[in-house]
């Protein structure tokens, strides 16, 4: 097995691992806030659950990039990577979603916590409350896009 394969697989692994950590973190803190709201007002369950789930998407974006990478580097399909340079290309292609996914998921989680507080006080403002965490996610989406374009372009 070549060094290139090692780098490529490292990229694929990071793309799932880091955003997954971030999402778990974000969904975790949002979940604590959500449970607190439901203990006071069980009717808000559906709304706060949606808000809790918002930071969970980064983990999925990471999975997505990993899957595309694996299907190109000869693990789930495609041709095995033979040279080190190509392997490193895959590694760097995976980095945008890996790094941005981790950090944006955490911050989206914190924004979700604030939005959950908003819904607890003003349940009719759900539409706006949902928007704040969605703004954070924009950057994860941009990172995902660049990772996909880079991986498929190699």
């Amino acid at each position: 097995m070549s060094m290139g394969m090692v780098f490529a697989l490292m990229g694929a692994a990071l793309a799932t691992a880091l955003p997954g950590v971030g999402s778990a973190w974000g969904v975790g803190i949002a979940g604590q806030a959500a449970a607190g709201v439901v203990s006071e007002d069980p009717d808000q369950f559906a709304k706060v659950l949606l808000l809790q789930l918002l930071p969970g998407t980064q983990g999925i974006y990471g999975l997505l990039v990993t899957f595309i990478t694996l299907s190109q580097i000869g693990i789930l399909g495609g041709n095995p990577v033979t040279d080190t340079a190509t392997g490193m290309l895959y590694l760097f292609a995976c980095l945008p979603i890996a790094i941005v996914g981790l950090i944006s998921a955490y911050h989206q989680g914190r924004t979700s916590v604030a939005s959950i507080g908003l819904v607890a006080k003003k349940p009719d403002q759900f539409g706006k409350a949902m928007l704040f965490p969605a703004m954070v996610e924009t950057y994860a989406i941009l990172a995902l896009l660049i990772s996909i374009l880079a991986v498929t372009g190699i």
């Binding site: 999925i60 974006y61 999975l63 539409g127 928007l131 996909i148 498929t152």
Partner: protein, 675 residues
């Protein structure tokens, strides 16, 4: 797509019709009453209805409480009042009958609530007894009463000492500084949780000395005095608990016995809620000795009907008032069946003001298209459309807001199906996987071919398309603003704020398309004739010049005016970021498709023969359920965002106040009018 015109009406009528008029208005649910302040010296007063209002609110609440208890002790299917709750339709005559019998129902509810009260009391006693039993636990081996003081010649000391002691240690501690052998018995009852329960019996003359010794060792009498032998006392407590439990069960039976009265309780709760509302309003109505005044908003087209009804039936004087400040005018939207379903999306951002455009219909079209592009799987779309359609057909009496919401997702489901087939996704690549695994189709052959193209094969191409859709969306927003300016006959603003931007942006885009940069990014080649290139340049320059000169047109100072214009030109960067934002259409679309493929692949990886089929089905159902939930949520959130941030950012500022007519705010039932 319109905002309903409103008309302010004032009604003045004889006081004897006061209740009848309010009740008529309440059941029509057509007039929003404004609570006017009255002048000190006008001689008008307001009635104090606080007491009556509180009384009825309490009654409504106690019927509600009774219903809650019934659902707890005699559960039935009709108890759920969640999102898909259908308010039962009850004939007017039946409600009137129930209202006539209301005293009977009040008595029943009082019984239920008193049963609940005694249940709570019993629960309290049980709690207390259980605590007492726990605190007696260490004393269970004691066979004399705990309040035993001793006999004629002896004194009995019962209590606990911190730490774990043996009987010998206890004896030593108690008999310190006393001649051997001391006349006392020391026994340890139990040692639990770092405390030792002890009984020391000594002669009366030694009592003081022994007690002192024990106190030095940390002896303390029990904090809760217990009378009697501990095991017997505990037995008594247990009997009491059993009795209380029996009482609670009896009371539960009593409550459950009213289970057939549910419907009546629902009617009564809503009846008292409406009545409390009526009294709240009554408290704000200005009145003199003989007449009273009402003021409020009605839809303009209904104004004459209401005036006629009030005059004919109650001899009231009705006047049309000047509408005054348009900001006070409440907003009600009127849309066709399709656009209606998206009204709640608009409302949660904020309603438009009077005199502005209601963008619901245009927004609804983009909403459905964009949602479809993000979820973009024919299988998921069919599931969504079917699920919402079944709910809509089966539950006709659902809350109107919920029905509209479901309708919106029905349309989104259809759009998702459309885009799914365009992209070639049906539960991801389920059809291909099944065909390859079980039907021997060679694995390089695609069974379900996309009608358009598969995004993953050429993401760059789809990205360009997404940005084009985004540009159309944004240009539509700018166009709506232009339409509003034209309607206000502000031609200068229309040219300098709208047309100039169209020219500038179109010019820039036409300049970009044939460039090498665009070619290398998209792989598409545009060759324009020479005149087209100079035309696009002129377009961009003229647009930019107009913006530069005209943006700060309300400033006298030319330096500031040009500076403001330059700043506005810089706003082109926000257009760039807005357009890039539509790349989420691609990203989320890819996410659905790829995750769905992962699920199919995992499902088809393991086992063989029948086992393989079973594993595939299980993984398929679980995986796709999860994927549809997460991606539908993502599509919903990001479609909203594209509308709220990108689209509304170009033209829309909310600030309208929702029309909130005086009506029956029923929680449980709806009235079926009979003719």
């Amino acid at each position: 797509m319109a905002i309903v015109e409103m008309q302010k009406l004032s009604i003045c009528a004889n006081k004897k019709h006061r209740k009848a008029i309010l009740e008529t208005l309440q059941s029509m649910g057509i007039m929003e009453l404004s609570y006017s302040n009255i002048d000190e010296d006008s001689g008008l007063t307001k009635m104090d209805t606080q007491a009556a209002r509180t009384k009825y609110e309490k009654r409504a609440a106690s019927f509600e409480q009774a219903l809650k208890l019934l659902s707890q002790y005699a559960p039935s299917d009709g108890d759920k009042t969640g999102l898909f709750y259908e308010k039962p339709r009850i004939a007017r005559s039946e409600i009137d009958k129930a209202v006539a019998d209301r005293h009977h129902y009040n008595v029943e509810v009082a019984e239920i609530l008193s049963a609940e009260k005694s249940m709570n009391e019993c629960q309290g006693v049980i709690q207390k007894d259980e605590n007492a039993i726990v605190s007696l636990e260490p004393w269970m081996n004691l066979d004399i009463p705990m309040n035993c003081e001793g006999t004629k010649d002896t004194k009995c000391l019962i209590g606990s000492i911190p730490g774990t002691l043996t009987e010998a240690e206890l004896y030593a501690a108690a008999s310190k500084d006393m001649p051997e052998p001391a006349a006392l018995t020391a026994s340890v009852i139990s040692a639990l949780n770092e405390t030792t329960q002890v009984v020391v019996i000594c002669m009366k003359q030694d009592a003081e000395k022994v007690e002192d010794n024990l106190r030095t060792a940390g002896f303390a009498r029990p904090s809760m005095p217990v009378i009697g032998i501990p095991s017997e006392v505990a037995e008594d407590y247990r009997k009491e608990i059993a009795e209380m439990q029996k009482t609670i069960d009896e009371k539960k039976q009593i409550i459950a016995g009213y289970k057939n009265e549910r419907q009546h309780f629902r009617m009564m709760s809503d009846y008292y809620r409406s009545r409390a509302d009526k009294y709240r309003l009554l408290g704000t109505v200005p009145q003199s000795r003989n007449v009273f005044f009402l003021e409020g908003w009605v839809p303009a087209e209904k104004a004459d009907d209401i005036a006629k009804l009030m005059t004919d039936q109650f001899g009231a004087a009705v006047g049309k008032e000047d509408n005054g400040n348009p900001e006070d005018e409440p907003v009600q939207l009127r849309n066709n069946h399709f656009a209606q379903s998206a009204e709640s999306v608009l409302a949660s951002y904020g309603l438009p003001q009077h005199g502005r455009v209601d963008p619901t219909a245009i927004m609804a079209v983009f909403y459905v298209i964009f949602f479809g592009m993000m979820l973009s799987d024919a299988g998921y779309g069919i599931v969504m459309a079917l699920a919402t359609a079944i709910l809509l057909i089966r539950k006709k009496n659902m809350d109107e807001g919920t029905r509209r919401f479901l309708r919106l997702f029905f349309y989104c489901g259809l759009s998702t199906t459309f885009w799914g087939f365009m992209y070639g996704g049906f539960f991801g690549d389920a059809i291909d996987v099944i065909a390859h695994t079980w039907f021997g189709v060679p694995s390089d052959q695609t069974v379900l071919k996309p009608l358009w193209f598969a995004p993953l094969n050429n993401p760059m191409r789809l990205l360009i398309w997404c940005m084009l859709f985004g540009l159309i969306h944004l240009f539509t927003g700018l166009g709506i603003k232009g339409y509003e300016l034209l309607k206000a006959h502000d031609i200068v603003a229309f040219i300098s704020d709208i047309v100039a931007w169209y020219m500038f942006l179109m010019g820039l885009i036409l300049m970009l398309l044939p460039s090498d940069l665009f070619k290398s990014i998209s792989g598409m080649t545009f060759t324009f004739p020479g005149w087209m290139n100079s035309f696009s340049r002129i377009l961009a320059i003229v647009g930019a010049l107009i913006i530069l000169v005209m943006s700060g047109r309300d400033r006298k100072n030319w330096a500031i005016r040009i500076a403001l214009g330059a700043y506005d030109l810089y706003g082109v960067t926000s257009w760039l970021s807005d357009v890039l934002s539509y790349s989420r259409l691609l990203a989320l679309g890819l996410a659905t498709g790829v995750i769905a493929s992962v699920i199919n692949m995992m499902g088809s990886m393991f086992g063989s023969g029948v086992g393989k089929v079973i594993i595939f089905i299980v993984v398929f159902i679980l995986g796709h359920t999860l994927n549809i939930a997460i991606n539908a949520l993502g599509a919903y959130v990001h479609t909203n965002r594209l509308q709220y941030v990108e689209f509304f950012g170009k033209f829309y500022d909310a600030g309208g106040r929702a029309f909130n007519p005086f009506r029956h705010k029923n929680k449980y039932i709806q009235v079926k009018e009979e003719n």
